[in-house]
């Protein structure tokens, strides 16, 4: 056996071991290919074609009433709306209900949504609900001949686990790519309001948005959403929304048609080493309270500016984005226990969350520069 084939075998054995119980890991009964798993999963991944209209980018000249009148007089005023076509991916999560998940940005401004199944069947989809803050949308199609994907657990993913991305990049339906979990809990990218991405080097390209990220058992672990790239194409840094979060959001969208989030009523920022020194903070990380909003949940609980929140309900948070994410998972009127440092004193406070009354876009007040020319963009044209 050549060295090359030995390397190939060891890779496949390692890949299979991830899906096998500990006792079976020593038995060398690994599949020689991922094809059986992929074959099971492919029918659950769909292509999505969207047509719609969006506000066109009018020239700033037209903001001037004089020039606007001039163009109107000569009948050459550009249309205020422009029709567009876009493509993305989706995943069937409930065959009996015809329910599928995709990204909110895939169906933004859509007037018609057409879902194409693996066998070529096409169906019009209705929007059950969208949550732009997490970039999740739930769609429904007629429940005929559908195959739902098994739902996995993103909370048990580990960095280094093998994952497979399936979707419709550049209109190439049912494209399958392999990679690993490169990192977990990626935040602060400024792509969504509430970020907790799985990072993967499985190739994700424009059109993959809303598609499936699965483990080697063929279970859905994420919804592919965005890439960081200098070129609009894959640079090996893709991001997927964890399935635990996607399913929780979808459940609310199906039940209520919208997502209602709790709000603490604070302006927060990251703790930096310089701030630790300047403020004499005890906590080296956490969410530093810059302002407490009047009549908010935090004020009622007794939180003060310059307090550092280190753990809501015992879940350690290392930065402001992590706290924002944790609070966003909770509902209005829910009580949350906040472990804080107030000066050098560690204490716990109970806060009854208010309701977030508007779409929250993540503010990156202390934004770090990205490598030159690198952009974070959604994996959709």
């Amino acid at each position: 056996m050549s060295i090359k084939s030995l390397l190939a075998c060891s890779f496949l054995l390692a890949a299979a071991a991830q899906t096998l119980p500990a006792a079976a890991e020593t038995k060398l009964s690994a599949p020689a290919t991922l094809a059986p798993m992929v074959k099971r999963v492919l029918p659950s991944v769909v292509s999505i074609a969207v047509t719609g209209a969006s506000q066109s980018n009018l020239t700033p000249l037209l903001a001037d009433p004089f020039f606007r009148q001039f163009f109107e007089d000569f009948g050459s005023l550009p249309p205020a709306e422009r029709t567009f076509q876009a493509a993305g991916s989706g995943v069937i999560v409930d065959a009996a209900d015809g329910l599928l998940l995709t990204n909110a940005h895939v169906v933004a401004n859509a007037e018609q949504i057409t879902v194409r199944l693996m066998d070529g069947t096409e169906a019009d989809a209705e929007v059950v609900g969208v949550d732009p803050d997490t970039d999740i949308a739930a769609l429904r199609i007629a429940p005929e001949g559908l195959v739902e994907i098994p739902i996995g657990q993103s909370s048990t993913l580990r960095v280094g686990d093998y994952v497979v991305a399936i979707g419709n990049p550049f209109g190439l339906e049912q494209t399958v790519t392999l990679g690993i979990v490169s990192a977990l809990g990626r935040r602060g990218l400024g792509i969504e309001g509430y970020e907790n991405f799985i990072q993967t080097d499985a190739s994700i390209n424009p059109g993959n948005s809303g598609g499936a990220l699965v483990n080697l058992a063929g279970e859905l672990v994420g919804i592919n959403t965005a890439i960081l790239t200098p070129s609009q194409g894959s640079a090996g840094i893709g991001f997927a929304i964890p399935v635990d979060m996607a399913i929780a959001i979808a459940d609310q969208l199906v039940r209520d048609g919208q997502v209602r989030r709790g709000q603490l009523g604070v302006i927060i920022q990251d703790v930096t080493p310089d701030l630790v020194r300047a403020l004499g903070l005890e906590a080296p990380s956490g969410a530093l309270v810059a302002q407490v909003m009047p009549e908010g949940a935090a004020m009622a609980a007794g939180l003060q500016p310059r307090d550092v929140i280190v753990a809501p309900d015992g879940v350690a948070v290392t930065d402001s984005a992590a706290l924002r994410y944790q609070i966003g998972l909770r509902s209005p009127d829910q009580t949350v226990t906040l472990d804080i440092f107030s000066g050098v004193k560690r204490m716990s406070l109970q806060a009854v969350l208010g309701a977030a009354d508007r779409t929250v876009r993540q503010q990156r007040l202390g934004e770090l520069p990205r490598p030159n020319n690198c952009i974070a963009c959604r994996a959709c044209p």
């Binding site: 920022q269 310089d274 701030l275 300047a278 310059r306 007040l365």
Partner: protein, 65 residues
């Protein structure tokens, strides 16, 4: 209001940005540029100065080494 930040300076490294509105330094409200100069020049070397500012209308704390 911060009108410019010298590239490579301590302020730039700390994240001070053009457009930031400085409200207080070392817990003292500043209304005039001379107040700001006096407080910063009076700070001992190798200490960190706490600055309260508004960035895009939102309160923000910054520490300048």
């Amino acid at each position: 209001m911060v009108m410019g930040v010298t590239p490579g300076s301590g302020a730039a490294r700390s994240g001070l940005m053009v457009g930031d509105r400085i409200v207080a330094v070392e817990n003292t409200q500043v209304n005039r540029i001379n107040q700001l100069r006096a407080i910063i020049s009076g700070a001992p070397p190798d200490t960190t100065v706490l600055i309260e500012l508004e960035r895009q209308g939102t309160p923000f704390l910054l520490a300048l080494p």
